[in-house]
């Protein structure tokens, strides 16, 4: 087993919110989250979930924008929660990001050239202007663009798809080990998404791993190698993308996949579902399975403690549901 590129262990993130009337409320955004990305081969790991699932929190934590409440993030053997400034600097180079909003990430004052110049200068990527120009051109070519077409333009003169591809080029140019892509296509027009997803796959083939964070299962299915489906800060199910989406085991994941509208007029949603009238208040850390209120298979055991991940099929495919506890009498076989 090769060494781990990124290893997240028991990561927990709790936010304290001031509720109405001055009361303090603790919101558990992530609980005991574990994830491992191998050094090689490069993979695209999808983190999928709806709003409130904790996926954005995970992105912020991995990028170092917010600290964990407990747990560790180990990058190539270094515990980032206890890293020295020089280790932090190296992390910045090795872990890059592409964000959701293809417009907000550009400083409207500068031309496109600026985003490249910034990284080259700060990370010392090139020793001369011509070397820099070459680097930029090569990176742009990888994403299917040419410097002469885009570098002198201002952000608003390009389409959303082009802007996202340029961000990919910028991330690629740094030659990171990992790119965190937080909803990179959700604000891009549907017809332009394929180009960006294609870039991600090609960069993966070139040795850069991705942490692809999204709520869109269809795109996850197309490009992800492994997938984690989060529900309210915990992992509901994880495994190879094809396995999880093809044969979902966790009741929530089954509901999720069922609800994705299939582009075939003969395949309709079956039955109506009710949404819980209340927003779940994730106030304590160990309140049992989070999906309990909506689960058609719930029983008392589910309230005692959060279910661990049980194997439910092919290797690596696990789901967090007591239904798959083989020790339990009458449990459903995976």
């Amino acid at each position: 087993m090769s060494e781990m590129l990124l290893s997240i262990r028991n990561a927990t993130k709790v936010y304290t919110q001031r509720g109405a009337g001055g009361s303090k409320r603790q919101v558990v955004a992530l609980q005991d989250f574990n994830l491992e990305i191998a050094e090689s081969p490069a993979t695209i790991t999808t983190i999928a979930g709806e709003s409130g699932s904790g996926k954005s929190t995970l992105a912020n934590v991995v990028l170092g924008f917010t600290p964990l409440s407990s747990g560790q993030i180990v990058f190539e053997g270094t515990d980032m929660t206890r890293a020295t400034p020089s280790q932090q600097k190296r992390y910045r180079r090795e872990v890059q990001a592409v964000f959701q909003d293809p417009f907000g990430v550009y400083n409207p004052f500068y031309r496109i050239q600026h985003v490249f110049d910034m990284v080259i200068r700060n990370f010392g990527l090139a020793k001369s202007k011509s070397e820099a120009r070459e680097m930029i051109e090569q990176a742009l070519n990888v994403v299917g663009l040419h410097g002469q077409d885009v570098l002198r333009k201002y952000p608003h003169q390009l389409s959303g798809g082009q802007r996202q591809r340029i961000m990919m080029a910028r991330a690629y140019m740094v030659k990171p080990r990992l790119i965190v892509a937080d909803e990179p296509v959700s604000m891009v027009d549907a017809s332009l998404r394929a180009a960006i997803l294609d870039v991600m796959m090609r960069l993966r083939d070139d040795g850069i791993s991705f942490l692809y964070i999204t709520h869109d299962l269809s795109t996850a299915y197309q490009i992800g190698d492994r997938i984690f489906i989060l529900y309210q800060g915990t992992i509901a199910e994880t495994g190879n993308t094809v396995d999880v989406i093809g044969e979902p085991r966790h009741p929530y994941v089954q509901l999720l996949i069922d609800s994705v509208p299939e582009p075939d007029p003969n395949i309709q949603w079956e039955g109506t579902i009710e949404l819980p009238p209340d927003e779940e208040m994730r106030t304590s850390q160990n309140s049992g399975c989070r999906f309990y209120p909506r689960c058609p298979h719930r029983h008392d055991r589910c309230l005692t403690a959060s279910p661990p991940l049980y194997p439910v099929g092919k290797a690596g495919h696990v789901a967090s549901c007591y239904l798959y506890d083989e020790a339990e009498v009458g449990a459903v076989q995976g």
Partner: protein, 319 residues
């Protein structure tokens, strides 16, 4: 949705054609149509004209006459008018003279730029302090921000004019710079607060996050990423500050508390008042400075409105 009006921009803005379509501020491209709007241009024209008066005027007119006394022509009226003694105006003093024989045209040529100068110096100092404190507080947050907010809020509550009056009456000789400094002491909180709130907004923007990921330092982010986007905003803040400062300055001068060593418009009005020009119908003595002041303020107002138009596309003539 309380009415059937949709948010204007959602459907009304067409997709940006793949050409140059200058749109918002933040790009310092002066060939953008919005920068050439009528109000801004007129306002800038007026201010430039007045400033030029002082610079160029001295080559064409002896501005020494503003302070030298011409005892032969005291209370001379402007050309075309006669004063209470029946003396007609002459071209030697086209705008008349005051009680000491100071030439009014010279006074105008010197005084108007001086008044502007006080305003601009005060506004510059105020803005400079505002940038430093506003950025520091807005970007760093925490107790630094709390402290800066505290002192700026407290300074705002101090009745400025009163303190200025007291200060000016206590100090012996006031130069233009001293005046500017004193006024700036009360101008900086407003700029600080405005800049701070802009910084707070920008701090959360995508490009600042991107800059952090690109290894930019805190100062780098502040000066290279945030400051350029603030430029039009800073302009507007500067003009607003200058207007306020000039107002304060003129107010003080009219009360006789302005600089003594140089002629100023407000000071001239004060002298006129002291010299009973109002009752004795020496209208040109106080009238000419007043008219000039009015023109100056109109100029500043137009610049303000013009900058507003740039900042807010909906105010533009076409839309």
């Amino acid at each position: 949705m309380t009415t059937s009006q949709p948010p204007v921009d959602v459907a009304a803005v067409p997709p940006a054609p793949p050409e140059d379509a200058p749109r918002t501020m933040g790009r310092f491209n002066i060939w953008d149509t919005p920068w050439f709007n009528a109000r801004l241009m007129t306002g800038v024209g007026i201010i430039t004209a007045i400033l030029l008066m002082g610079v160029v005027g001295q080559f064409f007119w002896d501005v020494g006459m503003a302070t030298e006394r011409d005892r032969t022509a005291r209370f001379a009226p402007p050309v075309g008018f006669t004063n209470f003694r029946g003396e007609p105006g002459s071209w030697a003093h086209p705008l008349g003279t005051n009680n000491l024989g100071h030439d009014m045209l010279a006074v105008a040529l010197v005084g108007a730029p001086n008044t502007f100068l006080i305003g601009f110096i005060a506004a510059t100092i105020g803005l400079g302090v505002g940038i430093v404190l506003g950025f520091t507080g807005g970007f760093l947050g925490g107790w630094i921000d709390d402290f800066i907010r505290l002192i700026s809020d407290v300074t705002l509550t101090i009745p400025a004019l009163m303190v200025l009056i007291v200060l000016n009456s206590v100090l012996d000789r006031i130069s233009i710079t001293t005046m500017a400094l004193i006024i700036a002491a009360f101008a900086w909180p407003r700029a600080t607060r405005q800049i701070r709130s802009q910084v707070l907004t920008m701090r959360e923007s995508g490009y600042v996050q991107m800059a952090r990921l690109s290894g930019a330092s805190t100062f780098g982010i502040m000066f290279k990423e945030m400051l350029p986007n603030l430029i039009p905003y800073l302009f507007a803040s500067f003009i607003a500050g200058a207007t306020g400062a000039i107002l304060a300055a003129v107010g003080l001068e009219t009360l006789g508390l302005g600089p003594q060593n140089v002629p100023t418009l407000g000071g001239t009005i004060y002298d006129a008042y002291r010299g009973s020009a109002l009752s004795a119908n020496f209208w040109w003595w106080w009238g000419i400075p007043t008219v000039l002041l009015a023109v100056m303020f109109v100029g500043l107002l137009l610049v303000n409105l013009g900058l507003d138009e740039i900042a807010n596309p909906r105010l533009r003539g076409r839309k």
